[in-house]
Amino acid sequence: MPFGAFTALHLLLIALLFSGVLLPAGGRKRSGLRRSTVRLDDSSIYLWPLPKQYSHGSQTLTVDPDIALEARGPGGSSAIVSEAFDRYKNLVFKQQAGYAGGDHDIAKLIVVVASENDTLQLGVNESYTLYIRGASDGGRLSIVSEVSIEANTIYGALRGLETLSQLCIYNYDTKTIEVHKAPWFIQDEPRFSYRGLLLDTSRHFLPVNIIKQVIESMSYAKLNVLHWHIIDEESFPLEVPTYPNLWEGSYTKWERYTVEDAYEIVDFAKRRGIHIMAEIDVPGHAESWGVGYPALWPSRNCTETLDVTKNFSFEVISGILTDMRKIFPFELFHLGGDEVHGDCWLSTPHVKEWLNQHNMTTNDAYQYFVLRAQDIAIAHNWTPVNWEETFNSFGEKLNPHTVVHNWLGPGVCPKVVAKGLRCIASNQGVWYLDHLDIPWEDFYTSEPLEGINVTSQQELVLGGEVCMWGETTDTSDVQQTIWPRAAAAAERLWSSIEATSAGGLNDTVLHRLQYFRGLLNHRGVPAAPVTNRYARQPPIGPGSCFSQ
């Protein structure tokens, strides 16, 4: 079989090149010569996303199916750590059924967490050090190896557990879980603090179970923000106690989220180190609000764009934000602000009259609306995020804390950071998952800092986000539309730019991504074939997961 031959060749290469040698890897200080060595090295390392720095040897260690957790440090005793340990133990050991007994090299995992603070906020320290000691120590063979993860926060420990789980490989002949290429020394941290995925539950409702599955799969790729585009024109699925008629705008009474559901989603995500950023997209994408409160529409015939003239519009926004503030602890809140058309305002007599009285054009009214919504968000102790049209139209008026969310095209973040505002990159040409014709390579090579050379400005780019708009995506196809392409962006956002800038993607990255896609499949995530011409297409014919 081709794969058998491939594996043998690899083993030979590894044996020749790396036997017993610890290679410096990752990091910024590599010379050109070493880089070419490391690239070979990279292609034999099946980790996704690639850690910042790593080195390894050539031993094979076995892992005890009853591996125990030894938690240390002020944060080590957190239930989030022990639950995550159990989760990963299941992931590693439940994908196959049989395990050989006997002595194993690795019987214990030490997790040391320095901080007992489990607050999850933007920029929380996600770094970790993973050390897998070899079985031989000082020339003497010792039976027990030692594995440790050291992190500043529990969230760093979670990232380390993910990396460790990817190093655990089932041996089908001996029926054991093995770590190859030990000893390992990995020092890792993300390049960007904001690594997002947008889910849209307005165009199609996604059941709570599905949202949880997506969150779980995000943790495998070390993404850390679920941008929940809850509401849009089509439906209003979330319960808002202050305005209890709002969710009458849901598709059906089954296609709804209760407040408890939302709490549950936030808690589930937090236990995986993932923020939930909620969005209400005002004033342009809010038609469904008026099903429960028709006064929010300019008129019955013209229902797009919330009525800018009424205080009630802003009271409802304030009520929603009051309720949501209790649910969503993340400091960022998305206020939308894209694709606002003033036609309804102009064609509705009382709105037009109001505009005249206030001496406003529709553009002025758009600005007035967005800024007033920003004030409400800030009053609720939130940092507003707005889609880029707000910046493009009246950027200098935006609150200085605003985070501008790029989507229309390239070149926006450089302008945003030049004005001193922060930016999230989601250029639709490369990072919109609903664009089925964007291949994984474009997701991978999209560089958020392109065109930004000043360090102080680079720091204003929080990161990036891939967007899964829901017009043709529901429970039946959301996962395979997201994966594996989101993973390509995830590595761009996590790994060092040196690691993600290698040329010849088909030689350097493709095989490792195919391997990660296989890992997702093994873990029950229906990630689509990597090399499909269009996203979420079925495999083109029979074949191995690792070649499709």
Partner: protein, 522 residues
């Protein structure tokens, strides 16, 4: 244009009407249902009680299934609302009459489910011959419950209920193909879970084919060298796990080796099974080793797969490799056989091996079409080529499983759900003793373009349409599939809520939703 849109409006209106009648949204429809107009509320501490049951549940099948049922009723919602004082259903009382929980072909699956009216401290009652009947009752019960998202309690509408139910056919199958694409263990378990929602009861595991040999068989340990890759394999422990996982959910696993025609991957580990290295299929009929390997495989199978049947394939055999390869062509001459004779010889000899391991044999229909009279009387013929085969098989006194490809092949994406629904296994078979020979039907998920990424939406919801055909009494099945469309759409949304990626009803198999809309309208 106006006509079209008013028709669409009417359809939407009918849809919303059907949602008002919560109670009728059962899939598949039970044999007998009556109901009232009361509403019950499930206790937050919903109990399973089994006093008086002859079944001791030492293996925990019932208790685990009950817990699964409670979980899927809640479907990840927090259910902590305060209950009204009246109309609270405290739990389910289950009476199982048989102590035996061995699952096999023909295991009794009937059940009675009675849900009282608005009594105080009420329990619903389930009676079943076997624990597997009780599992079906749990599934039916779960479909009667809804989480009220305003009050956060579980409601059961249209009480009291009296449901008496049993399947029409004992064999209600779904085939998966792990040779064209490997399916991870977790994916297979997800498929098994989803089958229980539609009361399907046989997972036909087409484990091996020409493309890859993913399963470990201790008797011939190099066979799984024919896997696609190192990690696209099943250990025997994995196979045991799949069988056990399925059986605990009332699902039998039918294993298949498809000989001699679909077996090229066998020769990766044992090249002497190929006629020659240039001509690799079918298996070398002249080599005794071939039958030793089949014997070894079936010996290993018999320790893992306890179902009454094993599937021996036998379809699409092209004998030109035999006649073109010198040593086989000589062998044929010496034995006075042509290619067709050798095909028959191979199939019948494989049948004998299977029988010697205690299995009844299933073969694809070509074996019947070519030499039906010589097949073992313990053969079940598996139809696939087209309609009209079952009646010939039954007339010949053999048993038959219906899977005519034009209607029940899930990989035919242009075969739509209504065709799946209307495909009648007993068409043109009128004599009761012949009808009994049709043990059921099976929808087939061939794997050429199906892997872990798209199997669920290719299987569902179309497999559910066939599942009702196989479960529900003929007289209760709709004559016009449009009459069940809203109920099936509701079932697909139920699958979605349970985490199954069932595709919209509209469009071809596994099509994406065409535009934004509510789940039940798509």
């Amino acid at each position: 244009m106006a006509g079209v849109s008013s028709a669409a409006l009417l359809a939407g209106f009918l849809l919303s009407l059907s949602f008002l009648a919560d109670g009728l949204n059962l899939w598949p429809m039970p044999a007998s249902v009556s109901y009232g107009s009361g509403t019950l509320y499930l206790s937050n501490d919903f109990q399973l009680r089994t006093e008086g049951s002859r079944y001791s549940d030492g293996s925990g099948i019932l208790k685990e299934a009950f817990q699964r049922m409670v979980d899927i009723i809640k479907i990840a919602h927090v259910v902590d609302g305060s209950l009204p004082r009246y109309g609270v259903l405290k739990g389910l009382r289950v009476l199982v009459f048989s102590a035996d929980d061995k699952l096999n072909f023909g295991t009794e699956e009937s059940y009675k489910l009675s849900i009282p009216a608005n009594n105080k401290d009420a329990y619903a009652e389930i009676e079943a011959q076997t624990v597997y009947g009780a599992l079906h009752a749990f599934e039916t019960f779960s479909q009667l419950c809804n989480v009220n998202l305003t009050t956060n309690i579980i409601e059961l509408h249209s009480a009291p209920w009296k449901i008496v139910d049993q399947p029409r056919f004992p064999y209600r199958g779904l085939m998966i193909d792990t040779s064209r694409h490997y399916l991870p263990l977790q994916t297979i378990k997800n498929v098994i879970d989803s089958m229980t929602y539609a009361k399907l009861n046989v997972l036909h595991w087409h484990a091996v084919d020409r493309e890859s040999f993913p399963i470990e068989l201790p008797s011939f340990p190099k066979l799984w060298d024919g896997a696609y890759s190192y990690s696209e394999r099943y250990t025997t422990a994995d196979a045991h796990e799949i069988v056990q996982y399925a059986e605990r959910r009332g699902i039998n696993v039918l294993a298949e080796i498809d000989v001699p025609g679909h077996a090229r991957s066998w020769g990766i580990g044992y090249p002497s099974l190929w006629p020659s290295s240039n001509c690799q299929e079918p298996l070398d009929v002249s080599n005794e080793f071939t039958f030793q390997v089949i014997d070894g495989i079936l010996s290993d199978f018999s320790k893992i797969f306890k179902f009454k049947f094993v599937h021996l394939g036998g379809d699409e055999v092209n004998t030109s490799c035999w006649t073109r390869t010198p040593h086989i062509s000589n062998w044929l001459k010496n034995h006075g056989m042509n290619g067709s004779d050798a095909y028959r010889y191979f199939v019948l000899r494989a049948q004998k091996i299977a029988l010697s391991h205690g299995y009844d044999v299933i073969n694809w229909e070509e074996t019947f079409n070519s030499f039906g009279k010589e097949l073992s009387p313990r053969t079940v013929v598996h139809n696939w080529l087209g309609g009209g085969v079952a009646q010939k098989v039954a007339a010949a006194g053999l048993r038959c499983i219906v899977s005519n490809q034009d209607k029940w092949y899930l990989d035919h994406l242009d075969a739509t759900w209504d065709g799946f629904y209307m495909n009648e296994p007993l068409v043109n078979i009128t004599k009761p003793e012949q009808q009994k020979l049709i043990i059921g039907g099976e929808v087939c998920m061939w794997g050429e373009t199906v892997d872990a990424s798209d199997i669920e939406q290719t299987v569902w919801p179309r497999a559910a349409a066939a599942a009702e055909r196989l479960w529900t009494p003929l007289k209760k099945l709709a004559k016009d599939p449009m009459l069940v469309r809203t109920r099936l759409a509701h079932f697909r949304c139920l699958l979605n809520r349970r985490g199954v990626a069932a595709a919209p009803l509209f469009g071809l198999g596994r099509a994406a939703p065409p535009h934004q809309d509510s789940c039940p309208k798509q």
